[in-house]
């Protein structure tokens, strides 16, 4: 198959390879069905970006793309690249501006059918208690610079120490909500300033908090281990490191775009600017990126706590009866040093996941004890009108994708196209007719994020399911959404 001049060879029904050509250090590999390739990639640069990533010094095995791949800047969104930590590079473009943008799922004891009449009130209260929208702030009091630095170092532990959750929450967060070797001194004053009043805020764009119902269970065993049952009310949170993360990425890119000559790199896109992992620039970025990741985990922890309090108040129910627990928190914009087997040898690599979720299988030492027998939950939000999925990581991910899977639906339409299509429609009413209550700061966000603007996440999830990378556990249906 040839798409926009890029030749693709079929490896299997759900896997395609871009052969290594001049400049590429490894081949590209894309998880997608034939239909997805033929319909989704004709008008954007995503495949070209898979090729570009293959130029990164030290890249191992393949430049990978998950089935939700779409046009990003530098890396495609949905891209995965592992680089050798001795001879390879780290690229901020492989993480993105929203460092540790991620998803958190919390479960309750509540059955949807018995609580239908309180959902409107719940959504109104969530919208009141959790700041949303552009530059949103004020969920908790504005923190001093030194207190903000404690978050950068300690991650979600800060929230627990300050009464926004329990120790159990940390054990159910990727990396226990804290990456080590995060030195706040590697973060600019500007970035810290931007973070001081943004802890506990959702932000805008595609970030959201959803109240979902567990609509279907595919894997009874894993669902039971994750604490999920049919018709259960659950909370899904999607946000990241807010302005602090954006500033850290920008600060470091400013430095790295000027070091490409120094290291003799000649990459096809400035946004792929990178530094050897072992260089001072590389280590500085890694440290600052870890600080932003820690800020994001703390952010989602505070938001979840605010949501829990709102549920307690709205349903007039005690903590014990609500039985509110974190299922898992995953990041999908990150670079992490992990050990993977390459050509039969265990090797430390820097895994860039730009719009991709870690999907470690059963038995992996990095996943919570509670999930060791089934594998880690992989949280895959869809659009606000259809459904989201919970999958579970499988062994094959360790051999094929550096333990990674998809992260969402992936955009199908540009924001402009979505706005055009939404013209004359009352999306709030349309969603209400399908049983979904939406509260947002601006109608424009709702229009840009309308369900049709996204691919059908079921197709994306099925590709990874059929490829054996992450398999389906449960399907969630949104009944209430708050957005920026």
């Amino acid at each position: 198959m040839n798409i926009q001049g890029i030749e693709l060879e079929k490896i299997s029904d759900n896997l395609w390879e871009i052969p290594q050509s001049s400049g590429m250090l490894v081949p590209g590999r894309i998880y997608a069905s034939q239909n997805m390739l033929e319909t989704s990639f004709q008008n954007d640069e995503a495949l070209k970006q898979v090729v570009n990533v293959a130029y990164l010094p030290g890249i191992q095995k393949y430049s990978l793309a998950m089935p939700d791949i779409h046009w990003g800047y530098g890396f495609p969104i949905g891209g995965v690249a592992a680089t050798d930590i001795e001879n390879g590079v780290i690229s901020p473009g492989g993480v993105g501006y929203d460092i540790n943008c991620g998803v958190r799922l919390a479960r309750t004891s509540l059955d949807y059918n018995s609580n239908k009449n309180k959902i409107q009130k719940l959504i109104d209260n969530l919208f009141k208690n959790i700041p949303t929208g552009i530059g949103s702030s004020g969920a908790i009091k504005k923190l001093s610079a030194s207190e903000t630095k404690r978050i950068l170092k300690n991650g979600a532990q800060w929230a627990i120490e300050n009464g926004f959750g329990t120790e159990e929450d940390l054990s159910l967060t990727e990396e226990t909500g804290r990456l080590n070797n995060a030195d706040p001194e590697s973060v600019s004053d500007r970035a810290i300033e931007r973070g001081q009043d943004q802890s506990g805020t959702l932000g805008s764009g595609n970030h959201f908090l959803e109240v979902d119902v567990v609509e279907e269970i595919f894997d009874e065993t894993a669902a039971a281990v994750f604490g999920l049952f049919k018709n259960q009310l659950v909370i899904l949170i999607h946000t990241g490191s807010r302005g602090l993360g954006y500033q850290i990425c920008d600060d470091n890119l400013q430095i790295l775009v000027n070091t490409q000559k120094k290291y003799g790199f000649n990459l096809p896109d400035k946004q792929l600017a990178c530094a050897p992992i072992q260089s001072q620039e590389g280590q500085d970025y890694l440290s600052a990126m870890r600080c932003a990741a820690n800020f994001a985990w703390n952010n989602r922890q505070i938001i979840m706590h605010l949501a829990k309090k709102t549920l307690n108040e709205t349903f007039n129910i005690s903590g014990i009866d609500l039985d509110f627990h974190l299922v898992y928190d995953v990041c999908h914009n990150i670079a992490k040093i992990e050990e993977h087997e390459i050509d039969g040898i265990k090797k430390k690599v820097c895994v860039h996941r730009k719009g991709a979720t870690r999907a470690f299988p059963a038995g992996n030492s990095q996943i919570p004890e509670k999930y060791k027998e089934v594998g880690q939950p992989v949280l895959i939000p869809g659009d606000m009108g259809r459904y989201s999925y919970i999958s579970v990581g499988k062994e094959k991910s360790m051999y094929e994708t550096f333990g990674s899977s998809c992260h969402g639906a992936g955009r199908l339409q540009s924001r402009h196209q979505a706005l055009k299509q939404a013209k004359g429609k009352n999306l709030i009413n349309e969603l209400a007719k399908s049983g979904i209550i939406i509260r947002a700061k601006g109608y424009k966000t709702i229009a840009e994020e309308m369900p049709n603007a996204y691919k059908d996440v079921a197709i994306v999830v099925d590709v990874m399911h059929n490829a054996g990378i992450s398999t389906k556990v449960a399907k969630l249906k949104p009944i209430g959404v708050i957005k920026g």
Binding site: N43, D44, H70, W71, G72, Y73, G74, I77, G96, Y97, D98, G133, I134, G135, R190, E193, R194, G203, S204, G205, G243, Y246, Q247, C249, D250, L253, Q254, V257, N258, D269, K270, Q271, A273, R411, L412, Q413, S414, R415, H416, Q417, G442, K444, G484
Partner: protein, 141 residues
């Protein structure tokens, strides 16, 4: 001298053209403002001075626009107009001196419509053809 938005599946891209490099920077600022704010009359009641250096003209443009972004999201201050702007290239270092004006953000008056996470370097190249400077800027949304 103009800007026009072009389709980009995830973010917002704008093509800017102008007869001088200074005007290219000025029009890029107008495009930035169009992305973040609904059409509204802003007032130039406060001034700020911006002094930047960069090793390429493209990097200078990204840094300049990101400066406006920083003022908005950190200082809660809205850029409205450029009072003066000069760019010089001395020993391969591009220097920008600008005086910009705007007003404090008031959520009761101003309706922000989009959050630009950052102005990206993605494929950024300023091209001069037939006395016209042109570039495409991608804003990460």
């Amino acid at each position: 001298m103009r800007y026009k938005f072009i389709d980009h599946s995830a973010d917002i891209a704008v093509e800017v053209s102008a007869n001088t490099i200074e005007n290219l920077f000025k029009i890029s600022c107008s495009a930035w403002r169009k992305v973040v704010l609904d059409n509204i009359n802003l007032f130039s009641i406060e001034e700020k001075e911006i002094n930047l250096e960069a090793q390429s003209i493209e990097e200078l443009l990204v840094r300049f626009l990101n400066e406006l972004n920083y003022y908005l999201y950190s200082d809660h201050w809205l850029f409205n107009s450029i009072l003066s702007l000069s760019i010089i290239n001395e020993k391969k270092i591009f220097q920008l001196k600008a005086k910009v004006a705007g007003e404090p953000l008031d959520n009761n008056i101003h309706r922000l419509k989009e959050e630009i996470k950052a102005v990206t370097y993605h494929h950024l190249k300023i091209v001069k053809k037939d006395n016209l400077f042109t570039t495409i800027i991608v804003f990460d949304i």
